[in-house]
């Protein structure tokens, strides 16, 4: 530094200048080096993981929703499908502007639209009130629903309004084109898409598919950066579920049982139609069936499928099981001779019949044909208690069938050691034991199918999105009784129609076997009985049974003796036979004698 005052010492001045120049360039170079070091840290080493943070900031992940599979009936009618709908949503912070510009398609110029006008237009497009829309779009939330599941038309209209902050998000809505037809069986979804009932619930894992994902990078304004890496995992759409249900017959059965329930003022009624050789459920009809499009309109207790959830005491239809076990164990034949007294007392328990009679010379067929409790107990007590229990179990009583519906009941079949003195006999004619309509149907299916009981099923096949069908094979059945025994029981059932008291089950052109049941139904409060359950179960055609139909009404009002499910049974069975082109019966009915001569 030029400290001395001598002006003439140019050398010293030059030295000072040099030092300062060197200091200047030195500082500059050192700063450049420091910056270079910093760049090395930031770019070369990236200790803070900033590159990753940047990618994270720019990456947008979209869920590619898998399409939910359809539920279709055996004829291909769609019972449930998902349709594209749109949720109209708002970013309230972006909507909070006084006015905005919108290109006028007609003039090609920008129009200035006030927020109020925008709200009015949006309300009109959505068919809502201005106030509702204004409430929905005003505030500081970045996400709020303005309208949910609007149709593509409405969505188009809303999109054209180009209102800031208003977006639409594709979503799906589950629709059920057949409404209440098989409504309970098909089930429904909650508002958030959670399956809540029926096959929607049990088949969810097949139907829902697997959501895909798309990730890409965006600019701060949301535009996709074309050259940035992107990944896409396509969605795997759900499989469709093809049912054994025939929606025509289902509809018919629902109509039939509904009018029956209305006519007799019953609490409820149901009809189950089973295909004998396969265990396929052709119809499973309930009164007051829910419409899955608006399940809330149906009382909660009616939203399920009572054929599988409601167990009740079946009554005389159970006499078929008693007869089958007696014949199979060799303790009686169809034409076993029994002298039936007016009342029968055993172990202090007295049994009577629904009609008054003196001493009668009855065959087993006659006892079943006229539904005599006395004769049934007389013959049935030839079986040990354990045998009675085992045979009921063999016919599936007290066990869930494994049908693909939620909430299936197993019924109530207490073990013999828990039976009281009367119950050990009443189980022979279907009191003191409870079962579902489906269990009744499957017990009769076993007889109709030459003694082989099958697992009932609603699902015929799973269908891939590309149309490939994966049929569900029929599970091997269990032989309950021999074909010979089954034939004897079939003869008894047919004779019950031809010669016994179930003449209302007759169908022109077809040979029918059937049995009625009338049981006292235990009161819901547990105190005694407060009504009746009337049922009729039958099969046709008896030369080669193809279908079993059960019709049940619970707690009909009025005299139980005037009530018959015959018309329901015959109309549904006729419809099933006709619709499936079943040839009219051949051969002669067995006409087993109901009485014997001394």
């Amino acid at each position: 530094m030029a400290r001395n005052s001598s002006k003439s010492t140019a050398g010293s001045q030059a030295a000072g200048a040099t030092r300062r120049l060197r200091a200047g360039i030195g500082i500059v170079l050192v700063l450049l080096l420091v910056i270079g070091g910093r760049l090395f840290l930031v770019q070369g080493l990236d200790f803070g993981g900033m590159a990753e943070a940047a990618v994270k900031q720019r990456t947008q992940v979209q869920t590619l929703a898998a399409a939910r599979g359809e539920i279709i009936d055996s004829k291909g009618n769609v019972l449930a499908r998902s349709v594209i709908r749109y949720d109209i949503v708002v970013d309230q912070t972006q909507n909070a502007i006084g006015e905005f510009d919108r290109k006028n398609a007609a003039t090609g110029k920008l129009d200035t639209i006030s927020r109020d006008q925008g709200i009015a237009e949006l309300a009109a497009a959505l068919g809502k009130s201005d106030e509702d829309v204004r409430t929905a779009v005003t505030g500081s939330r970045t996400f709020n629903y303005v309208a949910r599941t609007v149709t593509p038309d409405v969505n188009d209209a809303v999109t054209k309004l180009a209102i800031p902050g208003i977006y639409s998000r594709p979503t799906t809505q589950r629709v059920y084109p057949f409404g209440a037809v098989a409504g309970g069986v098909v089930g429904f979804l909650g508002a958030d898409g959670t399956p809540l009932a029926g096959l929607e619930q049990t088949m969810d894992s097949k139907l829902q598919g697997k959501d895909g994902q798309r990730s890409f990078q965006i600019g701060a304004d949301g535009a996709r950066i074309p050259y940035a890496p992107a990944q896409e995992t396509p969605a795997q759409d759900g499989q469709s579920v093809k049912l054994s249900i025939d929606s025509d017959i289902q509809w018919y059965a629902q109509q039939a049982i509904q009018s029956q329930v209305d006519k007799v003022h019953a609490e409820w009624g149901n009809v189950v139609v089973v295909e004998v050789k396969t265990g396929r459920i052709i119809a499973m009809a309930d009164s007051n069936a829910p419409d899955p499009n608006k399940p809330g309109a149906t009382a909660a207790k009616d939203r399920g499928v009572r054929s599988v959830t409601a167990a009740y005491e079946p009554g005389s239809t159970e006499k078929m099981i008693t007869a089958a076990s007696l014949i199979q164990t060799g303790k009686a034949t169809a034409l076993e001779h029994v002298v039936v007294p007016p009342t029968y007392t055993i172990n202090g328990q007295t049994f009577t019949d629904a009609f008054d009679h003196g001493y009668e010379n009855r065959t087993l067929a006659g006892i079943v044909g006229f539904s005599m409790n006395t004769g049934t107990v007389m013959l049935g007590s030839r079986l040990t208690k354990q045998q009675r229990y085992d045979w009921l179990r063999r016919f599936g009583i007290g066990q869930r069938t494994g049908i693909e519906l939620p909430g299936e009941g197993s019924g109530i079949l207490a073990t013999p050691d828990k039976w009281d003195g009367r119950q050990e006999y009443t189980v022979l004619f279907g009191q003191g034991v409870a079962q579902t309509t489906l269990q009744t149907a499957m017990a009769y299916q076993a007889i109709a199918n030459n003694g082989v009981r099958l697992k009932p099923r609603l699902v015929d096949a799973y269908v891939d999105p590309d149309g490939t069908e994966h049929p569900v094979p029929t599970a091997p059945g269990t032989e309950v009784v021999s074909p010979k025994t089954a034939q004897s029981v079939k003869d008894i059932l047919e004779s019950t129609v031809t010669d016994g008291e179930v003449k209302e089950a007759k169908i022109d052109g077809y040979r029918v076997g059937a049995k009625t049941g009338t049981a006292e139904s235990p009161a819901d409060n547990g105190g005694g009985f407060d009504g009746y359950t009337a049922s009729l179960v039958g099969m046709a055609p008896m030369d080669n049974p193809k279908y079993v139909v059960v019709a049940v009404v619970q707690r009909p009002q009025g005299s139980i003796y005037g009530i018959t499910n015959g018309p329901v049974f015959t109309s549904v069975m006729s419809q099933v036979l006709r619709a499936n082109n079943v040839a009219p019966s051949t051969g002669k009915p067995p006409h087993l004698p109901q009485f014997f001569d001394k």
Partner: protein, 413 residues
């Protein structure tokens, strides 16, 4: 060359302490001793500095044009403009600037000295005009818009101030020990200019102008103790400026690591700049392929263009830019070094170098998060016509000094 007197002492003491590798030490000492002569050049080939300056300047300008195109294209499309609009404008300014540079480089030192006073008055006039009819951009009022053209007089003021200081101080070199001669007239003029810029709320430019003034006084040979006083005053002045603006305080607290969580906007730019640099890694994502330029970085083509360079060209690209600035600094230093006895050249070229390099350092330090975000563009590279033209004109002045070396030597000998 004169060697600094402290060096032998320092090396001597190190020698005593470390006895392990005298050979390595000797080598280091030789290297050190050779450092300054090597940096200063052999003094004979004046042409090499000329071409180094010209080459580095043109390289930086071309890199700038390229990066302005790359970094502005996406944002331009977003706002409905042509993606080439800013690039073409910058190209025109580059042509104008290079023309100005070549014109000035062909002028003699006397001519340039003659420009000093008119330039200062013009700068003052323009700065006053800015305050009167200027346009505010991002909180800074330092643009004059006339029709389709906009100019930033503060850029021109930097150049004018450097020239004027040279013209005033070179006559006073021997008087600078007396405070009055330092203070009058340089300090009043500087204070007026800095104040005018500061009134336009441009803290970054104010600080830079203060640095240029300091550099001019420093290279003129002003006693160091006066810098102490001036430095303290400058710090106080900058603090006052910072504290009086919420915007500036926000930027500074953001840089210090506070307020990032709640006030996203404040550190948004800085964070995204670092994101871009880090994304570039060693070799970059490729020219034109920056992701951060997709509206993530505000002013990507302007103050934060270095971040886009880092993302697209990687560490290699940023170091090339850094090296080019280094070459420019060393080459200017060599020119100045040869004109040690000519205070005008020394003062003007010295302050111009500090201007350009200082601005580059501040800008890059800001982008890399070492300084708060203050609106200072990167010389030659950032978008901005006034800045580019003035930067190139400054280089023109220095080139003129480089060319006139021989004549000036002849005249003094």
């Amino acid at each position: 060359m004169v060697t600094t007197p402290t060096r032998p002492k320092a090396t001597g003491s190190t020698q005593v302490r470390t006895v392990s590798s005298p050979a390595a030490l000797a080598r280091a000492r030789t290297l050190l001793r050779g450092f300054w002569p090597r940096l200063e050049g052999n003094g004979g080939a004046g042409g090499s500095s000329y071409y180094l300056i010209l080459g580095a300047t043109l390289a930086l300008t071309v890199i700038g044009l390229m990066m302005v195109l790359s970094s502005s294209s996406v944002e331009a499309i977003t706002t409905g403009e042509s993606s080439y609009q800013l690039f073409l404008r910058q190209g025109i300014y580059a042509v104008v600037g290079i023309a100005a540079m070549l014109f000035l480089s062909r002028r003699k030192v006397r001519f340039i000295r003659g420009l000093a006073w008119p330039a200062l008055f013009l700068a003052l006039l323009l700065l006053v005009l800015v305050l009167a009819i200027g346009t505010e951009v991002n909180g800074n009022k330092n643009w004059i818009v006339i029709g389709p053209f906009s100019a930033q007089p503060s850029e021109f003021a930097k150049l004018a101030l450097a020239l004027w200081m040279g013209a005033v101080l070179y006559r006073k070199v021997s008087l600078l020990r007396r405070p009055m001669h330092v203070v009058v007239p340089v300090i009043p003029a500087a204070v007026i200019i800095v104040s005018l810029v500061a009134l336009g709320h441009d803290l970054g430019t104010s600080v830079l102008i203060a640095i240029i003034v300091g550099a001019g006084l420093f290279f003129a040979g002003t006693p160091m103790k006066m810098f102490g006083v001036a430095g303290a005053a400058g710090v106080v002045f900058a603090l006052v400026l910072a504290v009086t603006s919420a915007n500036r305080m926000g930027r500074i607290t953001a840089w210090l690591g506070h307020g990032c969580d709640n006030g996203q906007d404040v550190c948004y730019q800085s964070t995204n700049g670092i994101y871009a640099l880090a994304s570039g890694g060693w070799l970059g994502v490729g020219l034109g392929q920056s992701r951060q330029k997709w509206n993530w970085i505000p002013e990507a083509h302007n103050d934060f263009i270095f971040a886009i360079i880092g993302e697209e060209l990687g560490l290699v690209g940023t170091l090339v830019v850094l090296v080019l600035f280094g070459i420019l600094a060393v080459a200017i230093f060599r020119v100045v070094n040869r004109h040690q006895n000519e205070p005008f050249v020394r003062i003007v070229a010295g302050s111009l170098m500090i201007w350009i390099l200082g601005q580059a350092v501040v800008n890059i330090a800001m982008v890399t998060g070492m300084l708060p975000v203050i609106g200072v563009p990167l010389p030659f590279i950032s978008y901005g016509g006034s800045a580019l033209v003035c930067n190139l004109a400054a280089i023109g002045v220095i080139l003129s000094f480089a060319r006139t070396k021989q004549e000036s030597d002849l005249s003094t000998s």
